[in-house]
Amino acid sequence: MKKPITKIKTYARRKTEGLTDETINRKNSFQKFLIDVADVFMFVATVFKNTFARGFEFKEFTKQCFQIGNKSLGLISVTGLIIGLVLTIQARPVLVDFGAVTMLPGMVTISIIREMGPVITALICAGKIGSSMGAEIGSMRVTEQIDAMEVSSANPIKFLIVPRILAATLMLPLLVLYADALGILGGWLAANIKGDVSFILFITQAFGDVEFGDLFPAIIKTFFFGLVIGMVGCYKGFNAGRGTESVGIAANSAVVMSSLLVIIVDLIAVQITDII
């Protein structure tokens, strides 16, 4: 299939490497995934160039920020709270056996801040934001709205893609912090089921054990989670094929790929913080 001109970079690369669509179809799914990832980065290079071009679409950016927050807030509240509850309820008996119940708040808080909060929030957003970006931009591609922007010499990457990716990158850390807070609240509620801990005491104990080294890398990696989700959602939508079924495919593959990449980025982040 011929790619529209905005896709020419990835297409050209495929052609120079002899990777036509037919040869790609013959590759196994892991190789296909790698080709896809490489294409995403090519796409991002184009997006990056456009980020600093004249005329930033500020209105569209704030609108996207609001939508991302608005769409996922409810879901994230519920899961955040429940994660905190579950972690505490499960960890408590073990700590009681070792006579270390006072470590409970710190342990729960650290695991929420370092891992559970970021990863679970990112996976939820991959589902929620990734799919809606894939579907929204995909349907604009299919109904020729992106082509219409392009011929009216308005750059669709600048108007549609850059604000969405930036919004996802900025909003994900905020959503994670929010999920962390609710997770800790959930931890306190669970601690109160068995014992009787005042909120102040719980918080003091919790943050007594948290170090800068726990918080900082965790926040940094959430920016990358957001970036990955925005990138993949937009890429899949922007490169949707022809015909309405492509919209579903774009949404679906955006979720699959961004979830997988979130986990991979998490793995890389753990390795890096481990070395430091």
Partner: protein
């Protein structure tokens, strides 16, 4: 039918254009030109590559080989960054309308205006929007969403969005398809109005013979990736060619000249 344009200067010249998708060769050495000020109707079976042709002109698709010259610029080999200036001269009416679903009619019309290189003031933008909507006969639709409009209204709004930037060249992809005869005729008259008012040169793709009769100064018919026949309306209507006749004969009784 309106007066044929007398000026023979070409605004678009296409030579030996080829483009294919996979194994399928869609355009196979197509050569044609669009003269200044004329309405050129393009006929051809579904799937002969009419839409592909005009997409190549604005380079939404890159032709595999051939030359497309638009008012002195070679489009097919041009750098992507330089395309903007050429595209500014061209208005493109999509077959599907391609209105921006998430924006109101007003925002749809503002969109191209606000993103032009030359900045224009807000009042000027609003005046232009009102004028464009009046030209297409829908001044009341200004704050509606595209989903609230009927098919014919959507066509008109996208027409308004296209003419609002005063293009020198208009490309219409099936402007009347799917509309009732009355609305179709109104759109055809609108195309003629635009030609007169904005002095545009236009390519009109259509299957609608009535529309072709109303707007055409000249016609071409595509077949198997090439220009099969080129000429004036009466050359298309009075011919022995079976293929051409299959378009015109069935409708001949409705030829306005004979009524």
């Amino acid at each position: 039918m309106i007066e044929a344009a007398t000026n023979t200067e070409n605004v678009i010249e296409i030579k030996d254009l080829r483009i294919g998708f996979g194994d399928m060769q869609v355009l196979d050495g197509l050569t044609m030109e669009l003269r200044k000020g004329e309405n050129l109707v393009v006929l051809g079976k579904s799937g002969t590559g009419k839409s592909v042709l005009i997409k190549c002109i604005v380079r939404l698709l890159k032709a595999d080989s051939g030359m497309i010259n638009i008012m002195g610029d070679e489009v097919n080999s041009m750098k992507y960054e330089e395309l903007e200036d050429v595209r500014r001269k061209i208005g493109f009416l999509f077959q599907s309308g391609a209105l921006y679903d998430s924006m109101t009619v007003r925002q749809n019309l503002e969109f191209p205006l606000k993103r032009m290189k030359e900045k224009i003031s807000d009042e000027e933008i609003q005046t232009k929007i009102k004028e464009a909507l009046e030209n297409v006969g829908l001044p009341d639709a200004i704050d509606k969403m595209p989903s609230e409009l009927s098919g014919g209204m959507r066509k008109r709004i996208s027409l308004a969005r296209t003419i609002i930037v005063d293009p020198a060249i208009m490309l219409y992809d099936e402007p009347t398809t799917g509309l009732d005869p009355v609305t179709s005729h109104e759109i055809s008259l609108l195309i003629n109005d635009i030609q007169k008012k904005y002095k545009t040169s236009s390519i009109i793709i259509t299957h609608d013979i009535e529309c072709a009769r109303t707007v055409a100064n000249r016609l071409i018919m595509l077949q198997e990736g090439k220009v099969y026949k080129e000429g004036k309306l009466d050359e298309f209507e009075n011919t022995d060619d079976a293929l051409v006749n299959s378009y015109f004969q069935s409708n001949n009784s409705r030829n306005p000249k004979e009524l």
